[in-house]
Amino acid sequence: MATFNPLISVRDREAGQGGGNTHPPVSGGDGGGRGGDSSPDYGARLRRARLGLAVASVSITMLFVAFTSAYIFRQGLPTFDERTGEYVRDWLTLNLPMTMLLVNTLLLLLSSVTMELARRQITRQAALAPVESIPGVSLGRERYFPWLGATVVLGVGFLAGQWMAWRELSDRGFYVATSPSSSFFYLLTAAHGIHLTGGLLVMMYAVTVSLLRKPVEARRIVVDVTAWYWHFMAFLWLYIFGLLWFMR
């Protein structure tokens, strides 16, 4: 068990192809034989899903790039004050609810670690699945920790924490329209939260399908892609937090 190479199940199906690694793998040359080749090619599907996620991340990045440029533009903009007849700055420096935000950051980073553990665990499971299916071969009972469940809990914890940070800010009188700084705080945290919720929903879907006896290779694709998305969300949060802190 310990010497099994998990990459085999992903790569060896591409034997039928040549001329670069950008083609959808097909089973090579055994036109007449149906047996065994009717299973979907998980390696190609995983690669495609990861590529799709990378492309999707670019568009999400552009959304936040646009918010950032609006943030910087709006912060530097002088405002006409009708009482004094002069141009003033209406950007109120926001006292961020730091304790809450730091706790949330910690929760999210921790969830990124548990998500990575979930990803590695299911990669190993998927690699071993073909071996286990051989009649007479038993790999013994490996203990699987519910890392995915732990990530969902931590993720929900992060969202709850963000909600509490909102409450703290509104208790101090900073609402969405109070100042452009508070507008951006609510906007950026909400936009990040909505994207994170998307990740959570996919994770819950993955937990559900694990109960429905779907092939572990199929579940692995969902978990793998969600894991990369989740890391991206953690990174995005660090960026947003940095923007809100360093450009108060």
């Binding site: 039928g16 097909v26 090579g28 590529l51 440029s69 533009f73 709006r74 903009l77 969405v176």
Partner: protein
């Protein structure tokens, strides 16, 4: 059926390995919520066809009102200034988003990109279906704006703040504007999903031997267009979100201290320029999103019907990339009027004129392709040549407007209307027509009527020039755009006859489109049966059955041995070598 005309090498594979989903049986899964990229392509196409007739009808109302302001028109009655503005807004929005973005990319791109690269479907078929239905919802939402209290919005397709950001700035600015913003936001999400699919499919699903530099120029155009969409639509979405927050949550991103109807609004400190920057950062690439697929189609057709390889294939690819990259650096040229720093304006001006370089490379390569060729003047080719003609005529006024000193007097006149209609509107529409006449046999298994096609072409080409060429003169003579009436203005009286001529030209040109509509639907059922490769073309859609089977190549995975434009290769038996022909056929 695969290879019936090409006879190339194929690798057998079970359908399960090449195609993730089986052919659906029921009507709903087959035609409504289909996962098949070909059905989805047709859905996009017919959505755009519906939209273009709505958009055209609105333009007709505007043209009639301009020259006969007292006329009471069907469906809208008497046209008040605000009615005119809402017609203008809806015409622009529907045409730009639901026609020029939807048909070339969502329609033809969806249908032919996977086949041209030898793939059985898009990378993510479910996402593909979702992106079409999301676009459909966006279309329904925008049409709903006509029917709500206050009517459709007045802020133009560019949705300039603060007009768009205040709910009490005009009759259409309440629910109508909300529906407009919502529709655009939904459309952004749909386009992002589509772009994701196009990019992944192109990068990951090419058949064996289909290297990037063997891709047809149509595929290159769809691919670069998808990248532009991926980078641009996220920015428009963010701009739309800020606009909704300004309208409903009292924020001041776009709204400065402002008084409306004597009432001081609660906002202060925002800047309408922020909207303009965000909007045009999307808006300029959007011009290329509309035109690049047309360029791809023109290249494909000029080569095929000239029976010559495209002149300078690599230069064409790099020119598409250069146009794509430069397209993101020129948004400021839409804002010369905004009082921007002359240094910024200078930079934007230089970058804008730089786009002339790759555009000229493309144009000269098209002309080089036509040079010394035995051209087959069939309808698709006529529209492709028409595309080049319109691209040049519309493009040449670009360097005028790229200069702030000329743009400032011309910006709010009919000159700009003429410029962007020729290059972005009519040229792109000619790309769509060329693609329709060219791919119709593959899509529906019948040929379109050539005679009707040619009549349609000449009416449309001459008609479009009669409408838009004189508009340049109107602009230089000072006729402002967006004005609902000008007949009362003494200094424009001498322009009434020319305006009347334009309106007549518009009525005739629009009427001629019914010839196309008739030809389209009549040929679908009554046209002569099409062979698998009626144009003797080389790319992969012509190697498969007509119409193509569910998995495109009937359970086989094609192998590509040739470039996309190998016409009249010395030593070859025929005057064209298909991409899937065996490598032993003479090649260069």
């Amino acid at each position: 059926m695969a290879g019936s005309t090409g006879g190339g090498e194929t690798i057998m594979a079970t359908s399960a390995t090449v195609h993730a989903h089986a052919a659906p049986q029921g009507f709903i899964r087959k035609y409504i919520f289909s996962l098949d990229h070909k059905v989805i392509g047709l859905q996009y196409y017919f959505l755009a066809l519906t939209a273009v007739f709505v958009g055209m009808f609105l333009s007709l109302l505007m043209r009639i009102h301009l020259v006969w302001p007292a006329a009471v028109l069907p469906l809208v009655g008497e046209i008040k200034p605000e009615t005119y503005l809402s017609l203008l807004t809806m015409h622009g929005t529907i045409m730009v988003f639901f026609v020029l973005t939807t048909a070339p990319q969502g329609g033809f791109g969806n249908y032919f990109l996977p086949i041209q690269i030898g793939a059985p479907d898009m990378a993510f078929p479910v996402l593909n279906m979702l992106s079409f239905w999301t676009t459909f919802v966006a279309f329904v939402v925008i049409l709903a704006a006509f029917f709500v209290t206050g009517g459709a919005p007045l802020h133009g397709w560019t949705g300039y703040a603060p007009l768009s950001a205040l709910t009490n700035s005009g009759p259409g600015q309440q629910l109508g504007a909300d529906l407009w913003i919502t529709s655009i936001a939904i459309f952004c999400i749909a386009s992002l999903m589509g772009a994701l699919n196009f990019i992944t499919t192109t990068l990951d699903m090419r058949a064996k031997g289909m290297t990037m530099m063997r891709m047809p120029l149509t595929v290159w155009a769809w691919f670069i267009t998808a990248i532009l969409g991926l980078l641009a639509f996220g920015v428009l979405l963010s701009a739309g979100i800020l606009l909704l927050l300004d309208r409903h949550l009292g924020t001041s991103f776009y709204i400065p201290l402002v008084v409306v109807n004597g009432q001081v609004m609660g906002h202060k400190g925002g800047s309408p320029l922020l909207w303009q920057h965000l909007f045009w950062f999307f808006g300029h690439p959007e011009v290329y999103i509309a035109i690049l697929p047309g360029m791809g189609v023109a290249s494909q057709l000029l080569s095929t019907f000239s029976r010559k390889p495209i002149f300078g294939y690599r230069a064409m690819v790099y020119a598409i990339m250069a146009i794509g990259i430069l397209g993101f650096m020129v948004w400021g040229h839409h804002m010369f009027m905004s009082g921007m720093s002359p240094y910024s304006a200078f930079a934007f001006s230089i970058m804008t004129m730089a786009i002339g370089v790759p555009s000229a490379i493309k144009t000269f390569n098209w002309l080089g392709t036509l040079m010394h060729a035995r051209i087959r003047f069939q309808t698709p080719m006529l529209f492709a040549i028409g595309f080049v003609s319109l691209f040049v005529s519309g493009g040449l006024s670009g360097p005028f407007l790229a200069q702030p000193v000329l743009d400032i007097p011309l910006h709010d006149t009919a000159f700009v209307v003429a410029h962007f209609h020729l290059i972005m509107g009519v040229a792109a529409i000619f790309g769509i027509f060329a693609a329709t006449y060219y791919w119709f046999p593959k899509m529906f298994g019948h040929m379109m009527n050539e005679g009707l096609g040619k009549i349609h072409f000449f009416f449309t080409l001459i008609g479009a020039y009669c409408i838009f060429m004189p508009m340049h003169y109107l602009g230089m003579a000072g006729q402002p755009r967006r004005y609902s009436q000008f007949t009362e203005l003494a200094y424009l009286h001498h322009l009434i006859p020319l305006n009347t001529f334009i309106t007549y030209a518009a009525i005739i040109t629009i009427s001629a489109q019914f010839i196309f509509l008739f030809n389209l639907f009549w040929s679908m059922f009554k046209g002569p049966k099409a062979s698998d490769n009626p144009w003797e073309a080389t790319t992969m859609e012509w190697t498969t059955a007509t119409p193509p089977p569910h998995d495109n190549f009937g359970g086989k995975t094609p192998v590509v041995n040739h470039g996309p434009y190998e016409y009249n290769v010395p030593g070859a038996a025929r005057d064209y070598i298909m991409q899937t022909d065996p490598a032993t056929v003479a090649s260069h």
